[in-house]
Symmetry: C2
């Protein structure tokens, strides 16, 4: 009696969610509506209860599925909440408003709006905290949340360079480094103001922030792009 039931690992959503491409094309398929219901129920529970008081049994009840179904798809609370929160950032997109300053202000406001929702606040920070001790979770967050935001930075900078609002990068290495820097400054400032300072990210704040950031990035000689 070495291995009895665990002959093949149960396909938990650990690494390859929504793929399970090869194999297992037979049998009853997983309900897609159940997926959506579970993630929606998770966000709802996150709003009402917060991270620490959220239980998987409660989520299952809200979603109208059995608790065991939850455990068949997600390894635990962390992974479930990451997926539930990640969906909130689907709507993020870069507006093409003509000037770099307006582009930044638009994206920051979008980001802040999403982050202002209670399910994003309590859920996202909690999983980030857990990710400090779980590399797989960190990677999951990076892939489904962070990279989606980061792409906007790269695209926005590229546009600005074409328009001459930002100097071109001398080499790819520094280009990558400054992109990381910009990303941490933008996302960090918004997150910190929203969660730690507890103050709203309104238009006035965004304008002031964008002004400082653009002055800093443009270097000595460049358009500050403020009216």
């Amino acid at each position: 009696m070495i291995s009895l039931t665990a002959a093949r690992e149960p396909p938990v959503y650990g690494q390859d969610m929504h793929s399970r491409s090869p194999a297992s094309r037979t049998g009853r398929p997983r309900s897609a509506t159940a997926d959506a219901a579970i993630l929606a129920a998770t966000r709802e529970a996150l709003v009402e209860l917060g991270w620490s008081k959220l239980t998987l049994g409660d989520v299952a009840t809200r979603a109208g599925v059995a608790k065991t179904t939850l455990y068949r798809r997600w390894a635990g609370k962390n992974e479930l909440v990451v997926d539930a929160v990640a969906e909130l950032f689907d709507e993020l997109e870069l507006p093409d408003s003509g000037s770099l300053a307006a582009d930044i202000e638009g994206v920051v406001l979008q980001f802040a709006t999403i982050l202002a929702r209670p399910e994003a606040k309590s859920g996202l920070m909690a999983v980030v905290a857990e990710a400090t001790r779980d590399d797989a979770l960190r990677e999951r967050i990076r892939a489904s949340v962070v990279d989606r935001q980061k792409r906007l930075v790269l695209e926005g900078r590229s546009r600005a360079q074409v328009r001459g609002e930002l100097p071109p990068e001398p080499d790819p290495a520094t280009a990558s480094r400054t992109a990381d820097l910009i990303f941490d400054m933008v996302a960090g400032a918004v997150v910190h103001r929203t969660l730690v300072s507890g103050e709203p990210v309104d238009e006035a704040w965004v304008r002031g922030f964008t002004l400082v950031l653009l002055r800093g990035l443009a270097g000595g000689a460049a358009h500050t792009a403020a009216d």
Copy 2:
């Protein structure tokens, strides 16, 4: 049999830690060494177990006290961890290095060094996440952690204005707003790079960050204060 033992509320460390100034000057005093042992044990457990797997029973065992003693002093896990983490930031101080750039770089490196410790990472972010649904907890964090950092920003700016590295503020209202902005940008960027991006805050990064920030703050005409 209305109220038997709970005639007077037990003095839990909810609001006024280390004070309980009037009343109760009689009786056996609380062990101060127990306090230190508990907070140290909390940090130790935070390193080994992380936030979610940390239990108060385990902390009590590590500290060599009874579990009930813990509950007599702190209302719960949140409050305990806030106090345990707050002690880490005691060593923060503003270096007087002569130039604003060097001052900022010094403070940022100090802050990053503290934040790089695993007990700070997992503990601080977790309580911030919980604070999104608990105003008292948010206030506790602000008083014991955030304000201590913020004071450095105010002091550093004041020095820089005396030295002429930053323009003076036109009125107190905008002075306060820009101080908040600077604080969110500095702390936010460091926290985001450390926790979300998962990259180290080394000297090279700090130099780049400081350069962008100072250019942005100094406005069009001012010393960029780079070497």
